[in-house]
Symmetry: none
Subunit: 290 residues, 2 copies
DNA sequence: TCCCCTCTGAAACGTCAATTTCAGCATTGA
DNA sequence: TCAATGCTGAAATTGACGTTTCAGAGGGGA
């Protein structure tokens, strides 16, 4: 593991975007430098990610001029400039609600708050499904369906409820299910029953809980099969997880939405029940009666 | 002008996108390689434009594993992989119908269980929104936002988790929130603190809980403002409720889906927070610190 | 027309990043 | 419990890329 330093700011002083900065200096640029600017704006921002030689070739100038161009923009080096571009792109895609809020401001006519909210969550579900690797989902369901070993569910401040919901169902499908208190899960008496090969499902969304990370570390030490259900920014718990299921939660308002997590849990339960049906049906039948 | 060669295809054989390719091989990846995949998917595609060392550091693995990862994807070198990413990004921004192409990463034919499940739930949400009277929704949010009197949340066997989730958020927005144990809520000591004008939110879905009905009756007797969140067949508790919010839960398989209930609860929380913002913001601020 | 100044690109340079190697380690099966 | 296999990351190696230098081209003024 490298000790990579990510503190250094790529952008010199102001927080201007690369594109804005180009427009600012455009008029002071020399002829060849302008061609560099044209080239970059022509296929923005991808050309900036290319090596200098390619940038130069596409723009029809020499490498040296490209370097002079980025220096004009205020960047100390070409890699510096590229980093700025990356951070910018990241920033843009980190708020997919630009679409949901900026795109249909008037298109929705007089749909009510509730309609809009539910519609956005519906879109969220589809997008979440698309970004979750099927193999991970299937692997988890299969493992849960096996029914061997223990199965420990751990949630955070808000996601504890989701864990509880999962527990209530999973108990009926397979034995050995129990829920740990997320806040005290690090304590030895909580983890003492965790054995090698046990499944541990951890729910962690922003703002990530340091205690959960600690718990995950302990679980990894105990050779538990750790599963993480998290948000699009992916909790640091992923370091210790065998399976990671990221859900979209961003809403842009006060609360993030855990609807996708909840629905994913239901999907997991449904799939697990299906896979374990021979055993589960008998179990459910006897428990329902009792 | 450099003699830069741009003829060489970065992508080996098929025209698959990097993202699609990741999902394809995800199953065959080793543990550390999966971390790389998650890292990239977590901030896609920007992390792929970073130097190998940074990619590795962010994903929590070594540089060597990153290289092995891109090799698994079928790229002959890291720069080769980066070029594929660039071409992909360019392609997307060149056509405004990016959605139509980028949205269905998996063809309609081989939709997986998870895709189908999420799609059905998405449809459920829209249908649920359509059948809930806006006036009821607004009335509830407004009443909750007032913040006067107590607010009691009661769930059933499975819906107790939904009630817990609502409690966790509502506590931050307004005072007087508490959750009753659904199974023992009829007992006098549980109901003794309920006063006239208090809000009581009851969650009840099939198979309807006789105890909850009894509790609702008692609450009505105490002049509580009773709200019912239920399924499409509508719990008998509705007899005692001032507001009824029906959600679609039918799935046709073993378990009914409470996803719509959960999402509705989030919508209620969001709307309430919005309406109560002046008071709620201060409250949230002070509670977050403590 | 000639000279000077600025801009420009080719080539040399040195650095840093991608790649390869290898030893240690965890994980799987007997 | 032990051996074998395959995964993993640290360090060494190589090569590529960004950077610098400098000679010459282009253009404007005297």
């Amino acid at each position: 593991m490298a000790d990579y330093a990510e503190d250094e700011r790529a952008v010199p002083l102001d927080g201007l975007s690369v594109e804005a900065r180009i427009h600012d200096v455009m008029m002071e640029l020399t002829a060849a430098e302008k061609r560099a600017a044209r080239g970059l704006l022509g296929s923005y921002p991808t050309l900036g990610f290319a090596p200098v030689a390619e940038f130069a070739a596409v723009s029809g100038i020499s490498s040296a001029t490209v370097l002079r161009f980025v220096a004009r923009l205020g960047y100390r080096s070409y890699p510096d400039f590229q980093r700025a571009l990356r951070e910018e792109l990241d920033e843009r895609s980190k708020s997919p609600l630009q679409r949901a809020e900026a795109a249909p401001p008037r298109a929705d006519g007089d749909l009510h708050y509730l309609d809009r909210y539910m519609a956005r969550m519906a879109a969220n579900l589809s997008a979440t499904a698309a970004r979750i690797p099927i193999s991970e989902f299937e692997a988890l369901a299969a493992r849960l369906a096996e029914g061997r070993g223990g199965c420990h569910l751990i949630g955070g401040r808000f996601t504890d409820a989701v864990a509880a919901y999962m527990e209530a169902h999973l108990r009926l499908v397979r034995p050995g299910v129990r829920r740990l208190d997320g806040r005290t899960a690090t304590r030895a008496d909580q983890l003492i029953d965790v054995r090698a090969g046990d499944i541990a499902v951890i729910f962690d969304v922003r703002r990530y809980d340091p205690q959960l990370l600690e718990t995950a570390r302990s679980l990894a030490g105990r050779r538990a099969f750790t599963v993480l259900v998290t948000d699009e920014w992916i909790s640091p718990v992923s370091r210790h997880a065998k399976i990671v299921l990221p859900c979209l939660t961003e809403t842009g308002s006060t609360w993030d939405a855990n609807s996708a997590l909840f629905t994913l849990v239901e999907a997991i339960i449904a799939r697990t029940t299906e896979l374990a049906w021979p055993a589960a049906s008998r179990r459910i039948g006897s428990l329902e009666k009792g």
